[in-house]
């Protein structure tokens, strides 16, 4: 096997005990990137020099017998809406095309402390608004399993980079499914942590009450390792939760005997692709075989989730994106006066989907509509959250498909925004309720990966990882370290 194919836990162990040079690993991954990038376009920017420098530093410290971080020398790709000091953070938007961040996101500080090698910034739908990574100013990313298909979105670059071997670990962000859905489409693992588990400081805001940064990897153990590194209370984020960070890998081998898994009936209804349903049910059967108890539950307000989400998220986005005005940083288009400068800058700087959502959010927050839309949505959000509270009385976690279909074709849904929005049907409720969710591969349909989504109680990522680990082990077989 090539180095770039190996898992993070194996690689970091070998680097730390001096068996493997981090620099060789970086060379291997960079070589792979050179081969694959023309086909996939997973990255917006690469930092080869910085990556090699960091690898050399890790190698030197290991050689001197110094202590190195938990993920020393492991190459990590970062979604390009997470700020890294001194490098471009574009959010795949023209308006930030040349923006260089003067600071590190908290997760980046944590990754640096863990001595990872930061490879570069991955492609996304502009400002994370989309489900296909087609809404990128820098062009779409392609699905490594079928280059005519989308990798999902908005963290499509991170998911595709992992699937193509262009990174060992990756960070994504998830506002309505943007980690889980591309993980599902690309056949990798993606976890959206409980809201507040991971600091949002340095994540360019899309919808502040829904956004979370999360780990993406090619296997569950790597996902757990990365989650551990990036989690934790952050005094710079007022919405960060002051809760302890468990050792997420510790529970992986505990098995799932007696765990109660709920199947929400609304998630298996109309609109779900037959083969996706079959793969998901096969995984559920398998879990039952491993000792889990399967119960049927109901989340009656599921059908209102998309409507609720598409009020709250664009409203918050319209406000969060008001700062891109051509004054302090970013793109500016000249205009004959201040007003024209604003309108031209934002009119030319934002892509169509972003403008559509700003329009929608501005409309629903404007005088006379606030109560009918935004306030109403916040109330329905309460009902959606209560559905989950109710369900978790009878089960420990929920199992659902991640997406109603496998990866769709490039261009297939571009013309019809609402249809695109509706494909988020299984993922948005998790964000509205602030719960942790993971997508883990559970087979394929016509060669395209299918993802199983597991949804847990707040701050119970451990149970998700435990169950996902069993799914992975049963379907793939496992080569333990």
């Amino acid at each position: 096997m090539e180095l770039w194919e190996l898992s993070a836990y194996e690689l970091s162990a070998r680097i730390r005990n001096g068996e493997l040079r981090a620099k060789d690993l970086v060379f291997s991954v960079l070589q792979r990137i050179r081969e694959m990038e023309p086909l996939i376009h997973a990255y917006i920017s690469l930092d080869e020099e910085g990556a090699l420098r960091k690898a050399e530093e890790v190698d030197a410290r290991v050689a001197r017998g110094e202590k190195v971080g938990a993920l020393a020398g492991v190459p990590v790709a970062v979604k390009d809406n997470i700020c890294i000091k001194g490098g471009r953070t574009t959010c795949a938007s023209k308006i930030l095309e040349n923006f260089v961040s003067p600071y590190d996101a908290t997760v980046i500080e944590k990754l640096k402390a863990a001595d990872v090698v930061l490879l570069g910034k991955t492609n996304l739908d502009e400002f994370a608004m989309g489900s296909s990574t087609e809404n990128s100013y820098f062009g779409p990313t392609r699905n490594p399993h079928d280059q005519e298909r989308v990798p999902g979105g908005s963290s499509g670059g991170s998911a595709a980079a992992l699937a193509a071997g262009e990174a060992v670990l990756a960070l994504g962000s998830d506002t309505g499914g943007s980690i889980r859905q591309p993980a599902s489409f690309c056949g990798v693992v993606g976890l959206k942590p409980t809201y507040g588990r991971v600091s949002r400081y340095g994540l360019v805001a899309f919808a502040s009450s829904l956004d979370q940064i999360g780990p993406m990897a090619r296997n569950v153990r790597d996902t757990a390792l990365l989650l551990k590194v990036i989690s934790g209370y952050d005094p710079k984020d007022s919405t960060s939760a002051p809760v302890d960070v468990p050792d997420f890998t510790g529970v992986l081998d505990e098995g799932i005997e007696g765990i109660r898994i709920g199947l929400p009936r609304e998630y298996f209804a109309e609109g779900l692709d037959d083969e996706v349903r079959e793969r998901v049910m096969e995984a559920v059967d398998l879990l039952e075989g491993e000792g889990a108890e399967i119960v049927e539950v109901s989340l009656p307000h599921t059908k209102y989730a998309i409507a609720t989400y598409y009020i709250i998220a664009p409203a918050e986005a319209s406000s969060n994106l008001a700062r891109y005005d051509g004054v302090k940083y970013g793109f500016r288009a000249e205009g004959e006066d201040l007003y024209q400068m604003y309108c031209n800058t934002r009119g030319q700087g934002f892509g169509e989907e972003v403008k559509r959502r700003i329009m929608l959010g501005t409309y629903t927050l404007s005088a006379g509509y606030y109560e009918a839309y935004y306030l109403k949505a916040l109330k329905v959000r309460t009902l959606i959250k209560q559905d989950f509270d109710e369900a978790f009385k009878t089960c420990d976690l929920l199992a659902t498909p991640t997406s109603p279909t496998v990866a769709f074709r490039l261009g297939e849904k571009v013309a019809d925004p609402l249809t695109m929005y509706l494909s988020d049907v299984y993922t948005v409720s998790v964000n509205l309720a602030g719960l942790p969710g993971i997508s883990v591969p559970c087979g394929s349909s016509d060669g395209l990966p299918v993802g199983l989504q597991l949804i847990g109680r707040p701050f119970d990522e451990e149970t998700l990882l435990r169950v996902a680990y069993v799914v992975e082990g049963s379907l793939k077989g496992r080569s333990e370290p």
């Binding site: 940083y329 201040l338 329009m359 929608l360 959000r381």
Partner: protein, 94 residues
């Protein structure tokens, strides 16, 4: 509650967005999306409290301590236009 051309123009004004070709598309797309969203009306939410935050967090503070600011060169490195340490903009008053 159908969205009209006038609504779209007013919203584009509020959001400072110059629309060109999209304007017509936006009218029909926004109408479709808002029609879909309108299904929330069938839900009785009387007595249901709104959820702005999923976590029951409250009273998060920092202490009142001043720290050095970012060096101005770094802070203004991305500025589209500057003059004598200020950000320069088109004249903001008549």
């Amino acid at each position: 509650m159908a969205v009209t051309l006038e609504d779209v123009e007013k919203v584009a004004y509020l959001a400072r967005l110059k629309l060109s070709g999209e304007k017509g598309r936006f009218i029909s797309q926004l109408n479709r999306i808002l029609d879909y969203i309108a299904q929330l009306e069938e839900l009785d939410t009387g007595g249901v409290p709104p959820t702005s935050h999923v976590l029951p967090l409250k009273n998060v503070f920092r202490e009142d301590e001043a720290r050095p600011s970012v060096p101005r060169e770094e802070l203004m490195a991305n500025a589209p236009a500057e003059h004598m340490g200020y950000f320069k903009v088109p004249r903001a008053i008549e």
